[in-house]
């Protein structure tokens, strides 16, 4: 059974690129445009990994991450945070909230897909 990845970003083009690459890599992919939708999709889609953009309207990526880590049954879900904010404080904030990886935009999409593979294999 293929692993499931949820992509959360309000930038449609970035979602499109990542969706294309991950589908090709054999993953089952779902997308969400904002934090609220993301939490709903985690519940319904039960992904193994979430690619989470930080800067989103209303509920930010940080908040989604924090809420996901409060749920015991979601502890196993890997989280990769994607952010255009690359300052140290932001990276450490993401990590302290329980993200497995913090990736700064612009990233290499192939490298990111490789990281997804690594995290899901572990």
């Amino acid at each position: 059974m293929s692993k499931k990845v949820l992509i959360v970003d309000d930038e449609a083009n970035i979602v499109a690129a990542l969706e294309f690459l991950l589908r090709r890599g054999g993953y089952e992919v779902m997308a969400a445009q904002n934090g609220e939708e993301a939490l709903r999709r985690v519940e319904s889609f039960a992904p193994d990994l979430v690619l989470l953009d930080v800067m989103m309207p209303r509920i930010s990526g940080y908040e989604v991450c924090r809420r996901m880590r409060e749920r015991a049954d979601w502890k196993h879900i890997k989280i990769i945070m994607l952010s255009a904010k690359g300052r140290e404080a932001e990276v450490s904030k993401g990590v302290s909230l329980g993200a497995d990886l913090y990736v700064t935009k612009p990233f290499s999409s192939t490298e990111l897909v490789a990281k997804v593979g690594e995290l899901l294999a572990a």
């Binding site: 309000d10 083009n13 690129a17 989103m56 309207p57 930010s60 612009p106 290499s108 192939t110």
Partner: protein, 624 residues
């Protein structure tokens, strides 16, 4: 004095018990009692005793009074009268004696006069009380002199005059009336029939005994006049100095009493001759020798220093002979006291006013310092705020740059590494790359625009512009965006408008900014934008109305600041660089117009700008 009264008590009781009718004068109980009991011998004894006591009292009192009159009244006046040249006479003992004898005769005559005038209508006690009431008139001036710096000579005189006048009117006049010297009608109906001025019930104050009544009114008049006149006038420099000396006496410290305050110089021979003139050479020698011995010196022989203490000593010696007031005058003539000159007063005042000015300046300075500190603090806060805004701006701009870059990189990598992507997808990905590149360019241009505007280096080209055309062109240019977002756009333009002088590219930039904002915020299901162009005699006006969520009142001003976007940039994904409206407003204002927003939450937003008509050619260039 008090003990004597113990013997009076049994006699007074006896008299009152023996003569309950009260028809016997209480002053004569001591005589009438033995007479009533037919003890003639005792009565004679009492009479002789009383007579001798009275005579002795008269002698003692008269001498005391004559000395006082001589020393404190007549001599000072005579010494002051330069014409008499008393200062220069070597022997004054004859003059002193003559004055005292004259005074004795005068006092006895006055006593007799009062006896004749007041007669026997009053008992001794009443006469005593009337006198005490008179003496009490000195109290306000004396106490005021000791404790109040503001009291003046004129005030004291006025108080005394007023007090004595009232005393005379309320106490002495009734006494004279009772003795028959003044018509009794005055007592019963007041002067000229004015009831309010009745001497025994002044201003209707009735029900008190005569002494209390007189004391209340005389003191009221006395103190009132003293305070009022003192306050009304300003004390002279001398009075001021003396007042300070007396009132602040405990602050000055009291080693040598009043003498310490004597400012001046004296010579020992002068003091010696002064003392010798009034006391004789032998007494003067004795006094000087005493003074010298007390200081471990010998007189004559050692040199004495005529310091303040010595001057005071001489004055005390003199006072014994001629009274304090006269002694002071005589010593003053020997000692050259330095009067407080106008120059000195001015100096003291100058110093005082300088201190006042200095402290005033100090206060001003500290106020200025406080204001400067507040300004600095505000400036610092502003700087911090600007720094924070710059930080936010950089973070926003980099975010805005990184986002399209991410897409471009991702699709480039896909196209580069995945050879088997079909043509449709390939085209789609390339289209995205192109769009994201345009987006990048737009952001970079805006940042550059901002930099130019901020630095005042923006270039403006000016030509007559038909705003209808400009609006139509912009709408056509954006028609694809409108279609994609499913937004209906309606432009209501008049058939003809006056051309305005403007930089057409900049006006298009404003229109693009307003329209793209409107598209961004339009109701996603049923987007609608209305553009209206109107003209009046002064200006052209463009309204761009959307049907989005509207701009909260709190943000309506902020959104025109640079780097600021609707919503919190930290949690909300920004929709642009945060520069569009700032630049647009700058452009409109550069043309002399205004750009503003009207919005009610939930009812969309209406951004409007105006361009004034009749701007002369060249105005733009000058404004730039």
């Amino acid at each position: 004095m008090l003990a004597i009264n113990i013997f009076v008590l049994p006699i007074a009781f006896g008299g009152l018990l023996h003569f309950p009718e009260g028809n016997v004068d209480a002053d004569t109980f001591v005589l009438t009692l033995p007479m009533a009991e037919k003890q003639e011998l005792l009565a004679l004894l009492v009479f002789i005793g009383g007579l001798s006591a009275a005579t002795g009292m008269v002698i003692v009192e008269t001498i005391a009074l004559s000395t006082m009159v001589c020393n404190d009244l007549v001599m000072p006046v005579l010494l002051r009268l330069r014409r008499l040249r008393l200062n220069e006479r070597s022997d004054l003992t004859g003059v002193l004696l003559g004055i005292r004898r004259g005074a004795i005769v005068g006092i006895l005559l006055l006593g007799y006069l009062y006896f004749r005038l007041a007669g026997e209508a009053y008992a001794l006690v009443s006469i005593g009380l009337i006198s005490f009431a008179a003496v009490a008139q000195f109290a306000p001036a004396v106490l005021g002199g000791i404790f109040w710096k503001g009291g003046t000579r004129r005030g004291a005189l006025a108080g005394l005059c007023a007090g004595f006048a009232v005393w005379f009117y309320t106490l002495l006049l009734p006494a004279l009336a009772r003795s028959g010297w003044v018509p009794l009608g005055l007592m019963e109906h007041g002067p000229f029939g004015i009831e309010l001025l009745k001497p025994l019930e002044l201003f209707g104050l009735a029900g008190l005994d005569q002494i209390t009544h007189a004391m209340i009114w005389s003191m009221l008049a006395n103190i009132g006049a003293y305070v009022a006149v003192s306050l009304a006038g300003t004390p002279s420099a001398d009075e001021h100095r003396q007042a300070s000396l007396f009132v602040d006496v405990f602050r000055q410290g009291g080693e040598a009493g009043g003498a310490r305050f004597w400012r001046g110089t004296a010579s020992v021979p002068e003091l010696y001759s002064l003392l010798a003139r009034f006391q004789g050479v032998a007494a003067a020698d004795g006094a000087f020798a005493d003074y010298a011995r007390a200081r471990g010196l010998r007189w004559p022989g050692d040199t004495l220093v005529a310091d303040a203490e010595f001057v005071h000593y001489v004055e005390v010696q003199l006072a014994g002979a001629i009274g304090a007031a006269s002694a002071r005058i005589m010593v003053a003539s020997a000692v050259k006291e330095e009067a407080l000159t106008l120059e000195e007063v001015r100096k003291i005042l100058d110093e005082a006013s300088q201190v006042v000015m200095y402290s005033h300046r100090l206060e001003q300075k500290s106020h200025e310092l406080e204001a400067a500190t507040a300004e600095l603090r505000a400036a610092n806060e502003r700087l911090k705020e600007l720094d924070r805004l710059k930080d936010d701006f950089l973070s926003t701009v980099t975010h805005e740059l990184r986002t399209p870059l991410t897409s471009i990189r991702a699709f480039s990598e896909i196209l580069n590494q995945e050879p088997d992507v079909d043509l449709t997808q390939r085209r789609k990905f390339l289209g995205i790359i192109t769009k994201e590149t345009e987006r990048l360019t737009r952001i970079i241009n805006q940042v550059l625009d901002l930099a130019k505007i901020e630095a005042g280096r923006a270039e403006w080209s000016e030509a007559p512009v038909d705003l209808r055309e400009t609006i139509s062109d912009t709408v056509i240019a954006m028609s694809q965006v409108f279609q994609e977002k499913n937004v209906r756009v309606e432009a209501r333009l008049p058939e003809k408008v006056t051309a305005v002088n403007a930089d057409v590219d900049r006006i298009i930039q404003v229109m693009l900014n307003l329209l793209s904002n409107a598209v961004k915020f339009c109701n996603p299901a049923d987007g609608r934008i209305d553009i209206t162009l109107t003209e009046d005699e002064r200006e052209l006006r463009v309204d761009v109305r959307d049907n989005g969520p509207g701009v909260p009142a709190a943000d309506q001003h902020k959104i025109f600041d640079k780097f600021v976007q609707a919503g919190d940039t930290l949690t909300n994904k920004p929709q642009g660089s945060g520069l569009g409206l700032y630049i647009s407003r700058h452009i409109v204002e550069h043309h002399g117009g205004r750009l503003w927003v009207q919005s009610l939450p939930g009812e969309g937003a209406c951004f409007s700008f105006t361009l004034p008509l009749g701007r002369r050619a060249g105005a733009l260039a000058r404004a730039a």
